[in-house]
């Protein structure tokens, strides 16, 4: 089992906002200043700062003061618990697929597969 901590909620909450996801998208490519992050969003600086604070509290972004500017950096490793959590759901569905596969095999009269000719499709009925 993967270990989870209480930050998972914070991570998902932080990700539950399109503006913040876009900010993370920018930071994935490179570090950026607060004003650079604000530029595409037509948002006031305080509003952007508020989003950044959420990201920071979730541990996804760190800020560093360089001269008069604040540089923001992605802390990608903080995404791992959320990513692991979703990976478990992936495993869940994969198991369901395995089970469906078995079910279909057990309940279907065995027919010759890999027929050389195509089955006529019923999707389009030509008039």
């Amino acid at each position: 089992m993967v270990k989870y901590d209480s930050r998972l909620d914070a991570t998902f909450s932080a990700l539950a906002d399109a503006t913040r996801r876009e900010m993370l998208g920018v930071l994935m490519r490179r570090e950026a200043t607060v004003s650079e992050l604000a530029a595409p969003h037509k948002m006031s600086l305080p509003a952007v700062m508020k989003h950044l604070r959420v990201l920071e509290q979730a541990g996804l972004v760190s800020q560093e003061k360089v001269g008069r500017e604040r540089h923001c950096r992605l802390r990608a490793q903080a995404l791992k618990p959320a990513s692991d959590w979703i990976a478990q759901y992936r495993q869940f569905w994969e198991r369901q697929f395995d089970a469906l596969d078995r079910y279909l095999a057990e309940t279907q009269p065995s027919t010759e597969e890999k027929k050389p000719c195509r089955k006529p499709k019923q999707l389009h009925r030509s008039n």
């Binding site: 089992m1 989870y4 901590d5 209480s6 998972l8 909620d9 998902f12 909450s13 990700l15 539950a16 399109a18 996801r21 876009e22 993370l24 998208g25 994935m28 995404l79 959320a82 990513s83 959590w85 979703i86 990976a87 478990q88 759901y89 992936r90 495993q91 869940f92 569905w93 994969e94 198991r95 369901q96 697929f97 089970a99 469906l100 596969d101 078995r102 079910y103 279909l104 095999a105 309940t107 279907q108 597969e113 890999k114 027929k115 195509r118 089955k119 499709k121 999707l123």
Partner: protein
Amino acid sequence: MPQTEAIAPLELILNRTFNAPRERVFRAWTVASELDRWFLPTPGAKVKSSLDVRVGGVYRIELTAPDGHVHIATGVYREVQPPARLVFSWSATGSLEPVENTQVTVEFFETDDGRTQVTLTHQNFASAEMRNRHEHGWAACLDEMGVFFA
């Protein structure tokens, strides 16, 4: 609003090809007596589902694990296009990976050799509703998930 998909983990996509015609695979997903025979097949578990397969209809899948714990997945069908497409909301309670109002899309494609490719997309893991789940917290529930993920 554009989303930065690179930031996923916000959704997952699975593909699998099944050795059965499309109508048959679609039926396995949409007829309760069939779903009960394959969904969540933890050894010793019992599955009981009710599926009102129409847009706006509610489904409910109840799993009783061998230890007696009951896990419920429930939601509403948002799209029903037999035998091609099924979209439903997914909320899970009990200790079955607790989530609220995520969305599952299941698409059924006919392959050239008469088999069925199923594409499953599970998304909205980071929906706003997820924030309201603080009362239980995920971490505690997750520990119990071992029954499914052992």
